[in-house]
């Protein structure tokens, strides 16, 4: 389908495609097997300016927005759904700085992220606070010009590897969800350490780790926005970042579809390529239709966000993540089916895609929470028009 991308967007997409094909494809198995963090790939992304595609030019980026981020993530994920998280998870932690950071904070952190010198991580989830994010226990107590952080975050993508962390902590537990605040915490801050490194089903090249704050002193200058704004910052961040997760799912699905089509034309059974069988054809047709629908939804939402930054897009962003991740799970399952027994073998990239796809239904809000958010928005909209 033609999406009428600008010439710059086409260039970006082509460049991301080349990086994926020329630099990632031959090492994806290695990183999946070893669970090593793909620093050399970050270097490649940095060299061609792909780390700052959604960051304004004044901070060293190339001045694009959410659509540019989605295009890059989609292309990279066609080849590997895990390695691209070095970019996508950094974006998740960069949006709060872009949206709520003051001039000084932006100047200090954005150029290093745009150039690929540093990566970032966003920390909200705790062992007892996943979908129920407002029950986080990590605290930040104001002492003079500093805040003292205590608590443990878990399942943090890029954890342990990132140099910059955006952490949500309670500054006033009596105020409930209005008592949370967001802080920028740098790696190597005294009192900040890393705990358990998770072993995962998929996205195994990505690091997922515990963050431990033990009387960690953070300067007041590192508070993002105002005290008490923590959850607003988190929600606004998710509105901007969920299309990116959706793009990850889209890329995984799209890569699986491409491979399945090619394989079905090569694989001969009963004396003919299996692509000549209607059973396979219908699978491919459904997969392609769903992938295209996901793409259309993501691009349209990304364009909305980029065009009107203050627009409330919680519903659309949630729809993107919900739909694209469900499509990714279904399409990777069926693409593996097209491969038959070979698809189940680790020698082929299909089983990895299924493993990688699963997380997109879970993180940055489970798909059940996505449905809650969509329904809530629908009811609110209806109530408004009835008035």
């Amino acid at each position: 389908m033609e999406y009428f991308l600008t010439e710059e967007q086409e260039m970006l997409r082509e460049l991301a495609r080349r990086i994926a094909e020329e630099k990632i494809k031959q090492v994806r198995e290695h990183y999946d097997e070893t669970e090593e963090f793909p620093w050399p790939i970050l270097e490649e992304l940095a060299k061609v300016d792909l780390c700052g595609v959604y960051i304004p030019e004044e901070y060293g980026g190339t001045g694009g927005g959410v659509l540019e981020l989605c295009l890059a993530v989609e292309e990279l994920c066609k080849v590997d759904g895990g390695i691209a998280l070095i970019l996508a998870a950094t974006a998740l932690a960069t949006f709060p700085i872009l949206l709520f950071g003051n001039g000084e904070q932006k100047k200090k952190y954005l150029p290093d992220i745009a150039s690929g010198k540093k990566i970032a991580a966003f920390a909200l989830t705790e062992a007892g606070a996943g979908s129920d994010a407002s029950s986080i226990q990590t605290s930040a107590n104001r002492v003079g010009e500093n805040y003292i952080l205590n608590g443990t975050k878990c399942f943090i993508t890029n954890g342990g590897e990132a140099q910059i962390y955006v952490v949500i902590a309670m500054t006033d537990k009596t105020k409930g969800s209005r008592g949370a605040s967001a802080f920028i915490v740098e790696k190597d801050t005294p009192g900040f350490s890393f705990g358990k490194k998770e072993k995962k089903m998929g996205i195994r090249s990505s690091s997922t780790r515990e963050l431990i704050f033990n009387d960690c002193k953070v300067s007041r200058g590192n508070l993002l926005g105002r005290e008490g704004q923590g959850f607003i910052i988190a929600l606004k961040t998710f509105d901007a970042s969920r299309p990116g997760v959706a793009a990850q799912a889209l890329g995984i699905a799209s890569g699986a579809l491409e491979d399945a089509i090619n394989y079905s034309r090569e694989r001969v059974q009963f004396g003919q390529p299996i692509s000549s069988f209607q059973a396979i054809q219908h699978l491919l047709a459904d997969m392609a239709t769903e992938v295209e629908a996901a793409r259309a939804l993501i691009y349209a939402t990304a364009r909305m966000i980029d065009k009107v930054p203050d627009l409330r897009v919680t519903k659309e962003a949630a729809m993107c993540k919900l739909f694209a991740s469900d499509v990714a799970m279904k399409v990777t399952t069926n693409a593996l089916q097209v491969y038959g027994g070979y698809g189940y073998m680790r020698e082929y990239p299909m089983e990895k895609r299924m493993r990688d796809a699963k997380i997109t239904q879970i993180y940055e809000g489970t798909n059940q929470i996505m449905r809650n958010e969509i329904a809530l928005a629908l009811i609110k909209e209806a109530a408004k028009t009835k008035k």
Partner: protein
């Protein structure tokens, strides 16, 4: 320092089609790319610039569409570009091409080092690089696999041989042609691509570079191509079976039959 890199736009396939009437390459309908060996020349130019300072100018002779190859070179980080294009250049052989590019380089002005790929993948002659050096009256070293040292006045390079390599030192200005062992070409960067899109490509014709009309194009090309064809694949060899004594006997018989011994 001033580096000049010579590039050629070639069809992005090894199965080139040849016009049987004119015995020249058919370029229509084939995706065009920078000659892969020239990409190594561009990369080496950029690396030497990063090491020594200065600028890299990339030059090409070809039809107007070769401008896209120059823009790609700019997106990799080259500073300036020149396209030599004129209907009068059509039909140039390696002699006329060397002369034309040498005229273009003279117009660019001062230079310290000219870098070319070892050969183009379409014609495979490997003559234009040394030809340019000859026309400019400067020394040339072909098949360079490493630049060991470079100063304002001299350059020391390793020249690839079938076995081992030669170390050659020469005065600048000079010309080298490079092999793929010399480096790994970088991908263009996004910022580079955006810059290249807006950049100016200098387009010069025959009169701009003040070349002699009898030395360019078909007129300046003494090469006559009688026929171009893809050689048939070699037939497989014959296996002589049996134990070593039998094999030796059979081999001697066959060699005698063939009147080799």
């Amino acid at each position: 320092m001033n580096f000049i890199v010579c590039i050629k736009q070639v069809p992005g396939t090894t199965e080139v089609k040849i016009d049987p009437r004119t015995n020249t390459l058919i370029r229509e309908g084939v995706e065009s790319i920078i000659n892969p060996f020239d990409a190594y020349a561009i990369e080496e130019g950029l690396r030497l610039k990063e090491r020594m300072g200065g600028k890299v100018t990339v030059i090409s002779m070809g039809p107007p569409q070769a401008e896209s190859a120059l823009r790609e070179a700019l997106s990799m980080g080259c500073d300036e570009s020149v396209l030599l294009t004129d209907p009068a250049f059509a039909g140039s052989d390696t002699l006329a091409t060397s002369y034309t590019i040498a005229c273009g380089i003279k117009k660019i002005g001062e230079f310290d080092l000219i870098i070319c790929g070892k050969q183009a993948i379409d014609g495979d002659t490997a003559q234009v690089g040394p030809g340019i050096a000859e026309k400019l009256g400067i020394p040339a070293v072909t098949y360079v696999k490493k630049v060991e040292e470079m100063s304002e006045a001299r350059i020391r390079v390793e020249r690839m041989m079938e076995e081992g390599y030669e170390v050659i030192e020469m005065d600048l200005p000079a010309l080298i042609t490079v092999v793929k062992e010399i480096n790994e070409p970088r991908l263009p960067s996004l910022k580079g691509m955006m810059r290249a899109k807006k950049a100016n490509v200098n387009i010069w014709n025959a009169s701009d570079i003040a070349c002699v009309s009898t030395k360019i194009g078909q007129l300046g090309s003494p090469t006559i191509v009688n026929r171009i064809f893809t050689p048939p694949p070699r037939k497989g060899g014959e296996m002589i079976l049996g134990d070593p004594t039998e094999q030796a006997q059979k081999l001697i018989e066959r060699l005698r039959e063939a009147k080799v011994i």
